[in-house]
Subunit: 243 residues, 2 copies
């Protein structure tokens, strides 16, 4: 059996990687990934063999990694954030049936829902939903339905892929659907370039968020009905009593 | 300004801690936490001052940490999993207004939703909701409402605190509510003792999950309508086309 690690490397900087992720990369002969993420680890492990594929070539990337592993090499596929949240691990399992001699191990990493929450404050003290606004692989009607149920459930909502060049008005559309059930004063947050140069946070109301342009390096948080700001931080109370 | 780190140490073993979490602990004079989690880090950093409080004494724990930091010490509060998912960071911000000279920094960690998903396979390839079944701080009616909206949204659902001695039938109740909208054949998973001795996984149907007893060291995953099993793993397809 040879090994394929699907490794979540966390947000941008190496500090947010787990020891286990680092050990897997150290142990690997070949490291496969999207160019930008591979460059993040190449500095640390310059002696490895690197194979890169462009953005969105996910199945090609996994096929490359599986065939390298089938040839007896220890291989890591690197994913930004977590390997299992809209990541490569699902594709790896789906394509693995043709490679019975490759054992897949998923190594979790800090996904943007956790790293973004940490720099914004403490928005996830209560039940939450994570929804991607990308309709590349999901019909927009399904996304609309999920946004509305999440708002009715009074979940804290974390939005991945809130915008792209082709989907400039998707965040506005999403806010409008949530506004059917939530107050325009709902506390929201934007985390930009998490763990990288240019990391910033912004706290604003849902009404303001609706009119805000974000880029593809942003993660958006929409509070629940109890979320508030404390000293510039976004905080969802858990319900403890204070004397 | 003195520093209070709220540190997510991930599941049980040190391997799942980030470098950043380790640096914070190394830098700290005092480490505060629930006895069980403090014991996990004490071996690694025996020279620190340790202060422990029993389970559920969260506000007491945070007050202890804030007062130590106010006295000029660098302090870490350790949380299992992530510091921000039902964690201590919210309480820290809520109690911080009395300690203007203490700067709080939240260091994210691998929460059970990510570590559990990784050992079960790839359940989180699509939109998901995280719901705690503990009604200690949340009215059960609110939890019931959220479960039903999450099921209607066809989210993958991750349940924290699925059971305890006093709440032996809560998982059964939750499954019954989800079964109003989801098939009894829905693929589910249980991750037990993640990252610790006795780590196990179990894949079963929603109909079977309903009749299953889990303990407080379990995290439960309920697939969406597309979730399937591949080679004994729980996998939610993302929607890629395979030639």
């Amino acid at each position: 059996m040879s090994k394929l690690y699907v490794v979540g490397i966390g947000p941008g900087n190496n500090e947010n990687m787990t020891l286990r992720a680092q050990n897997a990369l150290r142990e690997s002969d070949v490291i496969v990934g999207y160019t930008v993420y591979v460059d993040l680890v190449r500095e640390q492990y310059p002696e490895k063999e690197y194979l890169t594929t462009p953005m969105r070539h996910e199945t090609e990337r996994v096929a490359l990694a599986l065939s390298q592993a089938a040839n007896g090499k220890t291989v890591s596929i690197v994913c930004s954030g977590d390997a299992g949240v809209y990541g490569m691990s699902g594709v790896a399992y789906e394509m693995s049936s043709d490679y019975p001699d490759v054992e897949i191990e998923t190594i979790p990493g800090i996904s943007a829902v956790l790293s973004g929450a940490a720099i914004l404050g403490a928005p996830l003290m209560h039940d939450f939903a994570v929804i991607s606004l990308s309709d590349l692989l999901t019909p927009w009607e399904k996304i609309e339905k999920r946004l509305q149920f999440a708002a009715q459930a009074d979940f804290v909502i974390c939005l991945y892929n809130p915008s792209s060049r082709k989907r400039g008005d998707y965040l506005e559309k999403a806010c409008d659907l949530i506004l059917r059930y939530a107050s325009p004063d709902t506390v929201c947050g934007i985390a930009r370039n998490i763990g990288r140069e240019g990391e910033t946070t912004e706290i604003l109301s849902l009404g303001e968020l609706r009119k805000t342009q974000v880029d593809m390096f942003s993660t958006v948080f929409i509070g629940n009905s109890q979320t508030k700001t404390i000293g510039g931080k976004m905080v969802t109370p858990r319900g403890y009593k204070y004397e």
